[in-house]
């Protein structure tokens, strides 16, 4: 097997298995062999993370495996990002994320953030109990491609609608794609409140963002 192919296999397996201590030396060796940062990112690491997402969706792996894979991915990103930025390579863009006003649950949001970062997005995490005006301030400051809102309980789902209304009132609704997620949500609810998409889990959220980027 050619060295590059062997190193690619090693790197992808390290991402899939979450072996972050293997990720860095693999990337360094690939770079020294002449492989470009773009190729390592687009043809090796992102496809590896896609495999992890598919395994998670099929129930073949569970949260711990997904999380350590995302962490390994982030280890690689930390190495490649300065090189990609220096070369002017386009990033996938920024995502502002937060649990809406009144909602104190951040587990799902944190998982989505990790996986988004692993997929190459820059995540601005506003935390929990985020009022509409804070989302709008972040939108004006960071100019994200996406705003993602989470809610775990029915009570706070209503705040999602309020936030979208506030975006409209502020005249910024059309500047960003809005995604919503959380245990009590459904596609119907997302449609009713005027969100652009609903992500049933972290994997789905990333897939939807990726699809919308292609539009």
């Amino acid at each position: 097997m050619p060295e590059k192919e062997r190193l690619q296999q090693e790197l992808q397996e390290a991402v899939i298995k979450g072996k972050r201590d293997v990720v860095e030396p693999s990337i360094r060796r690939l770079l020294s062999e002449g492989t470009s940062p773009e190729e390592i990112m687009d043809r090796m690491m992102i496809p590896a993370m896609d495999i992890v997402g598919e395994q998670f969706s099929r129930g073949e792996i569970f949260l711990p495996e997904m999380m350590i894979a995302a962490r390994a991915m982030n280890t690689g990103l930390a190495i490649l990002k300065p090189m990609l930025t220096a070369k002017g390579a386009p990033s996938k863009g920024k995502v502002v994320i937060g649990a809406v006003k009144g909602d104190i649950h951040d587990v799902g949001k944190n998982i989505v953030s990790m996986v988004l970062e692993g997929a190459g997005y820059e995540v601005i995490d506003l935390g929990i109990d985020v009022p509409p005006e804070k989302f709008i301030t972040a939108l004006n400051e960071h100019h994200p491609r996406f705003v993602l809102m989470s809610a775990l309980i029915t009570l706070t789902m209503i705040a999602m609608e309020d936030t979208i209304k506030a975006f409209k009132a502020a005249g910024v609704r059309d500047k960003v794609k809005i995604g919503v997620g959380g245990a009590p949500l459904t596609q119907n609810f997302a449609d009713r409140i005027g969100a652009d998409f609903y992500g049933k889990d972290a994997r789905a959220a990333v897939t939807k963002c990726n699809e919308l980027l292609k539009e």
Binding site: G18, G59, I61, F62, L63, P64, E65, M66, M67, I68, R71, G102, I104, H105, V107, G108, N110, I111, M114, I128, D129, I153, T154, L155, A183, P184, K200, D201
Partner: protein, 376 residues
């Protein structure tokens, strides 16, 4: 059938027998909702049960103070004194989260900002946070409340196996990392919480509680937060420490889809399983596959029906659940988590009326026709 007393009705269902009617007990009714139902904060637990037609109680009540938002306070720091000497009526015996806590000023609702058990060194926080499980004051006070309020009702204590304590006190992300980075830390944290709970249970066994409600979330609507193998290694042996100490019937609660671990979980020997969240598990399948091993509790939807739906929708759902799951007993009606203070009050009343209307055994043959599944 001769009319049973509420306690007998609950215990009969927990034994998977057929009582005189399907019982109704809630894992929790948040205090704001209690106050709306009773029109006051000064009432006895049995009065709330009587008003709603409920068969048992546990959790906590606003008497002795004001109604607070959310569930029982689980902060660290100043927890010990309020644990030993509760000022408001409570039947909870859960350890504090070992975590940095936050509070939403408008509602007073507390939440975990950050778990603090993230390293071997952090284990010393156990001494700082956990109350002495042998301190007599709380047991003495709660025994008095049981004597004072139990009447004919089934009274339960809420406890933990230690799993939720471990997950919240580490944080789910740190837990996930440490499965691979430091597996012994997870085991040690779980062991310490479980041993604390087991000591508490030894005291509770001597008290006049009729059953325990054991709250340990393990899952979300998609799946469990661990594989079956991880459950067997990191959870089950420590949960068993508590389960082996229990000498009364007990109900296990975890939100979400428990199917990946359910067979192992049931080896702990609980009498009932709750809440069979409708968006996560199919109660018909649970009844069919596990109804001969365990009493089923729950499945009245909190995500929509009780909180956003109409009284008519609540009535229909309770009717369908009784038709689906009440056949041959072994079913207790409850919400699919708890009655939170954001449930519509009129929907709680609709639930109360529906349990009374449809729950009488033998079940109405017309009701059973609702569920063709039983005929197949």
């Amino acid at each position: 059938m001769k009319e049973m007393r509420p306690r007998e009705r609950v215990l009969s269902a927990l034994r998977r027998e057929t009582p005189d009617r399907v019982p109704w007990v809630e894992n929790d009714i948040e205090e704001g909702l209690q106050e709306r139902i009773m029109g006051t904060t000064q009432f006895a637990p049995g009065e709330l049960c009587e008003k709603l037609g409920m068969d048992g109680f546990g959790y906590h009540f606003p008497m002795g103070g004001q109604a607070v938002a959310g569930q029982a306070l689980q902060a660290g720091g100043s927890f010990k004194e309020t644990y030993y000497y509760p000022q408001k009526v409570t039947f909870d015996f859960v350890p504090p989260w070992i975590a940095e806590m936050g509070v939403i000023p408008e509602t007073g609702r507390t939440f975990v900002k950050k778990g603090l058990l993230t390293s071997n060194d952090s284990l010393k926080l156990f001494d700082e946070y956990l109350p002495d499980p042998d301190h007599p004051a709380r047991y003495e006070q709660v025994s008095k409340w049981i004597d004072q309020y139990k009447g004919d009702y089934a009274v339960f204590a809420r406890i933990r196996l230690g799993s939720a304590s471990m997950l919240e006190s580490m944080g789910i992300v740190e837990f996930a990392y440490n499965i691979y980075d430091n597996p012994d830390l997870i085991k040690e944290v779980h062991r310490r919480f479980s041993e604390w709970s087991a000591k508490v249970v030894e005291h509770l066994n001597k008290m006049d509680f009729h059953f325990y409600w054991v709250n340990d979330d393990h899952a979300d609507t998609r799946s469990t937060w661990m594989s079956r193998e991880q459950y067997q290694e990191f959870f089950l042996p420590y949960q068993k420490i508590v389960a082996d100490a229990i000498r009364k019937p007990w109900v296990f609660h975890s939100d979400g889809n428990l199917l990946p671990i359910l067979d192992d979980l049931l080896t702990l020997g609980m009498a009932g399983i709750h809440p069979i969240q409708p968006s996560a598990m199919d109660i018909k399948k649970i009844k069919a596959n596990y109804g001969n091993r365990v009493c089923i509790l729950g499945n009245i939807d909190l995500d929509y029906t009780l909180t956003l739906g109409s009284p008519e929708e609540v009535d229909k759902e309770v009717k369908e659940r009784i038709a689906t799951t009440g056949v041959n007993g072994g079913y207790i009606v409850t919400s699919a988590n708890s009655l939170t203070d954001y449930c519509k009050t009129e929907n709680v009343w609709a639930m109360a009326r529906a349990v009374k209307k449809y729950g009488k055994y033998p079940l109405d043959p017309n009701l059973l026709k609702l569920d063709s599944w039983w005929g197949t």
